[in-house]
């Protein structure tokens, strides 16, 4: 008797789904990101027009003044689909959890000078509300935007902003009593330093063009706010005055901002490169909204950095303009 082991190779007849292959120019091996994105956008046979917006179909590219022949060109360079995004964020969450435990177990908050601790809370806690606004805005982009390549990462971005808001809340609870959160909200509502930023956020909540909203929130505002607060204020100011714990507890924010800036820049670059009209339109939006953002952040820079505020904000603006230039915009 002879017992033999054999391996049979069964090769698939096709490499990927037809609706994915259509967008890849042929039946090629597709990544999970491509299979999760291409062909996923509903294009026809919609439910009847919504009563709250009869001028548009349920999914309607004309909600934006940006014109693209194919909205799938707005590919995410990070190639995030649900699984890779959740796994990446889960790893980052573990790291932040360790930071919180480290700070708490060594009583590092108690070692921060009182003035520095209070300054950190006064600047960071009202930003919970700005992060909430960013969550709302990105959810709006996901709802009214056209094209899965554009809207799916926007929903991830919305949840990320919720995470930022939650980390700021935990920072407040780690460094003070729960009343500090209420004080932060009162400051957001009443303190003159915050009213410019608050008005900016509230005005963006009613923007109807999803791509303009993307530019106003994710590029113009966050592109200035994050470097100002987390690089210039937390790293270069608070950490150097005995507040290293604050830098540890907010470590997610600058890291996340740099990662998502790749996505934001890629979308703006591709959309602007498609036509002169797009380029002019997007450049105008970036120019107008970043001017407003700079004005809104001037009192915040003053609150955070005092006399160094204007110089820090100026440096942030210079880097922002360089970033926009790299993306092919004309500011």
């Amino acid at each position: 008797m002879n017992i033999d082991l054999q391996a049979r190779e069964i090769t698939p007849l096709r490499n990927t789904y037809a609706h994915v292959a259509q967008h890849m120019g042929g039946d090629k091996v597709a990544s999970r990101y491509q299979e999760a994105t291409f062909g996923a956008q509903p294009m026809t046979n919609f439910h009847y027009r919504p009563t709250w917006d009869p001028a548009h179909e349920l999914f309607d590219a004309s909600r934006s003044r940006v014109v693209l022949a194919d909205w799938y060109v707005l590919k995410d360079p990070r190639q995030f689909y649900y699984a890779t995004w959740t796994m990446t964020r889960a790893r980052q969450q573990d790291a932040v959890e360790s930071s919180f435990q480290f700070v708490e177990s060594r009583g590092m908050v108690g070692m921060i000078p009182d003035a520095v601790r209070e300054k950190a809370l006064r600047v960071l806690l009202p930003l919970r509300h700005a992060a909430w606004g960013a969550n709302m805005n990105n959810a709006s982009i996901a709802a009214y935007g056209f094209g899965t390549a554009f809207t799916a990462p926007a929903m991830f971005h919305a949840m990320d902003n919720l995470g930022v808001a939650q980390y700021l809340t935990r920072l407040g609870l780690a460094m003070a009593e729960p009343e500090a959160l209420d004080a932060g909200k009162q400051a957001w509502l009443d303190d003159p330093h915050w009213q410019g930023l608050r008005r900016y956020v509230e005005d963006t909540l009613v923007l109807q063009d999803p791509f303009e909203l993307f530019v106003a929130q994710n590029l113009a505002l966050d592109g200035l706010l994050y470097p100002l607060v987390y690089t210039h204020f937390v790293d270069d100011h608070i950490a150097l005055q005995g507040g290293t714990a604050v830098a540890m507890l907010t470590s997610f924010m600058p890291e996340w901002h740099d990662e998502t800036a790749r996505w934001v820049d890629a979308l703006v670059k591709v959309a602007a490169a498609e036509s002169d009209a797009n380029r002019a339109l997007i450049s105008q939006w970036v120019s107008d909204w970043s001017d407003r953002a700079q004005a809104a952040l001037t009192p915040v820079a003053d609150l955070a950095l005092g006399a160094q505020g204007p110089a820090a904000l100026g440096e942030v603006m210079d880097q922002f303009r360089a970033r926009c230039k790299k993306a092919g915009l004309a500011l």
């Binding site: 391996a7 049979r8 190779e9 091996v29 360079p77 990070r78 990446t88």
Partner: protein, 89 residues
Amino acid sequence: MSNVFIAFQHNEESRPVIDAIVADNPGAQVVHSPGLVKIDAPNSLTIRRSTIEEQTGRPYDLQQIHINLVTLSGHIDEDDDQLTLSWRH
């Protein structure tokens, strides 16, 4: 002249690594067998972290290859950015 080879499990995680190896090593030959991808190359083969990152679009730790690595042959020269197999001492 001898071949070096490296073999990975044939799955989604190893795909960008294999694409990077093929891109960086012009003499490389890819052989498929059930569940396995073997890459043979004359003399030497280099895996570069930066090329893998171009494929994935995200930061990649070169040590991640070990999750799907089945076997290899050759002398190993390894650092954070590259792994080279060769028969040169």
